[in-house]
Symmetry: C2
Subunit: 139 residues, 2 copies
DNA sequence: AATGTAAACGCAACAATGTTGCAAAATTGG
DNA sequence: CCAATTTTGCAACATTGTTGCGTTTACATT
């Protein structure tokens, strides 16, 4: 785990610091997506808010994470798959928000469908957000 | 126009005030979606920020508007079609965000596709956000 | 048209969230 | 181990969202 995290950072030309380690660890533990405030809370008093903002910004730019729009004014972030490095993302999967537990997860195995737009509109990116009850909560 | 706005309010059991009139007018002028700050700016000095928050909240509850998730921490709101009144929405259409002009519009004529989820997941609502270049900007 | 009542508004104060500049500390490559 | 660069923490600030309360406005009834 420790090694996996350090590798992830080095592979993306980022220096290894305790803040970055901690945040990646939180993502790996969680599995799903985290908002800025999730991270702030779970990281405890150990890191400054500003550091969290800057770290997420850096991870976004390097392509370690991608962000997920939400309807509640709190962007979520989730780890990218390995093939998303170097700034360009390959995260055309569906995001699922559980209304019971509140978790957001990436459904890597569900591809976003092609959307046929009216004449004159050119699609560059498609985001699909599904809300409902997740596997853990419906069981 | 004046009459249309007043009708819209009355049909939703809302008293007609200048603030509500103004905000509905902005939506009708704009055609597309507006964020809270859009409204604040365009309404000028005439209304308190709190009034805008409360008015949007009321419109949401009554079903005059629906909100559109975004990836930039600024929910957009758009007028619902007539058949969305009374709290339950029928806005299963695609939302388009233009990367050139920044506008967000509802593509009423494009339905959201059915999404096949893995076992154990139950979908309640599906949001589709397409970004790209809109008709006006590609012309 | 006047009036009473309930709803909506504006203001103020506050809480939460996001941004910027700069000096101190940590990381990395040599 | 050392120097150069990057990252961090702090402080100050800007923006965004929330709450309570007294005043004003809208509306139904007279």
């Amino acid at each position: 785990m420790e090694k996996k995290i350090d590798d992830l950072l080095k592979r993306n030309q980022l220096s290894v610091t305790s803040g970055r380690r901690k945040i990646l660890e939180l993502f790996l533990q969680q599995g799903g997506a985290l908002s800025h405030s999730d991270i702030e809370k779970r990281a405890g008093e150990k890191f400054d808010r500003v550091t969290v903002y800057r770290t997420l910004q850096t991870f976004l730019e390097k392509g370690l994470i991608h962000n997920i729009p939400t309807a509640d004014n709190s962007i979520r972030y989730a780890l990218c798959k390995d093939d998303c490095g170097g700034g360009h993302h390959q995260d055309d999967h569906v995001h699922f928000i559980c209304t019971a537990c509140g978790n957001t997860v990436c459904l890597e195995e569900v591809n976003v469908p092609a959307i046929k737009l009216p004449r004159g509109f050119a699609a560059e990116q498609v985001e699909v957000l599904v809300s409902g009850v997740c596997r853990s909560c419906s069981a």
